[in-house]
Symmetry: C2
Subunit: 359 residues, 2 copies
């Protein structure tokens, strides 16, 4: 069996553990939490009918040294700085790492020094480290890159991901500046409390480096989405004239001309103003391509699924800090996950024949 530890038991971490428990060829050998759920049986935490015999533990070193996982899925932070030490600990126990930390999808531009450090540390220990997720990691970067496969040239890319914030919790609502006056929103952006989407500074370089597109600068904007109607959920009651969310976009320019434009307006209940959610990707080149995924690839489920579905590729990859562009074409897995390890051409040779048990 492929032995997996889930590190982080927040909403995403629990979703990942739940999916792992239901897949063939995978054995969940441990769960690491900070405070929530610590000491509880994983079955209880996930709402199963019966306990599964694994207790959520807050002693990571103890879990890693006794469970000896092949891979750890890390769901504890959005930032490189929030996972670097944890990755190093996994490396010391010879476990590959998959993380949904948004910045880790392509950390080389925003955290160049720390990326180098993680890469060389991963190589020293013979482990693979990958950041993935639905966005960044897929919809607004590696999927766009894949869609250009049938084009002779690409001049410009415009993509827009329109989603509904309603399923998200209080933290996300605050980060997106939901339920404020326009003035309070602008103030929140200024002082960094409202940061919109984490991922544009990963997705843009990821696409550009993959395709060999050049740009001089990336300009980000965060604008309030003002509601003209009442928008109500369990968590918020947005009156007309208040913000329903944040329209965050980033444009990469070359000589003043947009090369890559990514837009991600996130708001509560967009359907109340007739706005359809979806992923809209326009590629301008030879030929042009117009791709629509409607409704959008779901954020929560998509991130959970991506972290689990990529396990075989990560186990089959050479050591180092890799990205989705280094993976063989990713996909859902319906049979035994072990059938997919080392499948195909890009098999890791030598150092990983022992599946990460090299400490």
């Amino acid at each position: 069996m492929i032995k997996v530890v889930g590190w982080g038991v927040g909403k995403m971490g629990r979703g990942i553990l739940d999916m792992l428990m239901k897949k063939q060829g995978i054995e969940v050998v441990g769960a690491i939490g900070r405070t929530t759920g610590v000491g509880k049986d994983l079955g209880e935490l996930l709402g199963f009918d019966s306990p599964v015999g694994i207790k959520v533990d807050n002693d990571a070193e103890k879990v890693l040294s006794s469970a000896r996982p092949d891979v750890v899925i890390l769901s504890i932070s959005s930032y490189v700085r929030g996972v670097a030490d944890e990755i190093e600990l996994c490396a010391r126990y010879g476990a590959d790492v998959i993380t949904i930390a948004e910045e880790m999808a392509y950390p080389f531009r925003t955290e160049p020094e720390l990326s180098k450090k993680i890469d060389s540390m991963a190589k020293d220990h013979g482990i693979t480290v990958l950041g993935t997720g639905v966005n960044p990691g897929f919809v607004l970067d590696s999927l766009i890159a894949a869609l250009t496969y049938g084009t002779r040239s690409v001049r410009q890319i415009k993509a827009r991901r329109v989603n509904d914030l309603s399923p998200y919790g209080k933290t996300v609502m605050e980060e997106q500046g939901v339920g404020l006056s326009m003035e309070a929103f602008i103030e929140g952006v200024k002082d960094g409390q409202i940061h919109g989407h984490i991922g544009f500074l990963q997705s843009i370089p990821m696409i550009a480096d993959a395709l060999g597109l050049e740009y001089d600068e990336i300009v980000e904007t965060r604008e309030p989405i003002m509601s003209t109607v009442e928008r109500k959920t369990d968590l918020v009651d947005i009156k007309p004239g208040m913000t329903a969310g944040c329209s965050h976009s980033a444009v990469a320019y070359r000589n003043g001309v947009p090369v890559i434009t990514l837009e991600h307006p996130q708001q509560v209940r967009p359907e109340l103003e007739g706005i359809e959610t979806g992923d809209f990707i326009d590629i301008y080149g030879d030929p042009d391509l117009h791709v629509v995924i409607r409704p959008e690839t779901p954020g929560g489920i998509g991130t959970i699924a991506s972290a689990v579905n990529i396990i075989p590729q990560v186990l089959s990859s050479p050591p180092g800090l890799l990205t989705m562009m280094d993976m063989t074409i990713p996909h859902c897995i319906m049979d035994d996950f072990r059938n997919h390890i080392g499948k195909g051409g890009n098999i890791r040779e030598g150092s990983k024949g022992d599946m990460g048990q090299d400490t």
Copy 2:
């Protein structure tokens, strides 16, 4: 420079050579033809203003032994049997092979013995062999697989590629049964003259094996698309009541339930009856996904582009008969192709450090 030979100078072969000549880091070192264009300068054949100093030659062995390409792009047949000997010749000269032969996209089910032979021969000579193209190879298989990345499970896949046959030549029109009475069409399907799309028996196993979906049988149908209006092109004049093309579909069943349904209605000028072209992909699972590419990813340009864009992955892959599912995420390349060789994680180790010059 990456040294490439184009083998086949039909419409696709010429398109591939034209694209190769315009890309950075690639040197076209030879062109092999059978009859058309033999003896002509490649520049003349491609309609350039000036000659390029490479003559189309019908002596493949002479071209391969003197040019010593890193990779040969083979555009001479749709069938495994139509490229097997040519692949062996490339192997003897240590050149990787990319072919747009539709059956080669996933030859394991329709040609199991010959696939094994090609695979072991490729391994003996240390070369990589890949079948690619827009379809099969991408839109109705590897792209569908990629789109499932953000799903926890997949129950059923339905995809429909609606295109216009007008840009194609006489052979394709005949293979698709254009401009016939219904009776003549049915007769043509019966005696094998009208075969519709080559690729379903590749795309379905490719998706199923990638995802681990099981099926018992594949049922193919070829139905006439009867025109109710006059549809005219330079090549054909279809009167009302005549066939405008072939609606070819294939369904993979598991216990009588469709698991994968692929439909490819191909016809001349569908817009005259208000039919929009496009690639329509519906994935049913957790969650459902509905993807539309409108108009469709172009067949001709897409196949040309795919054969060229995949060069770095093929040069970086281990020896053997591989498929698109063994490639790292494919994409268009706008800078020097050499920047993309061995990029990322799945670097070929050992045998291919000399880039195919191993004979």
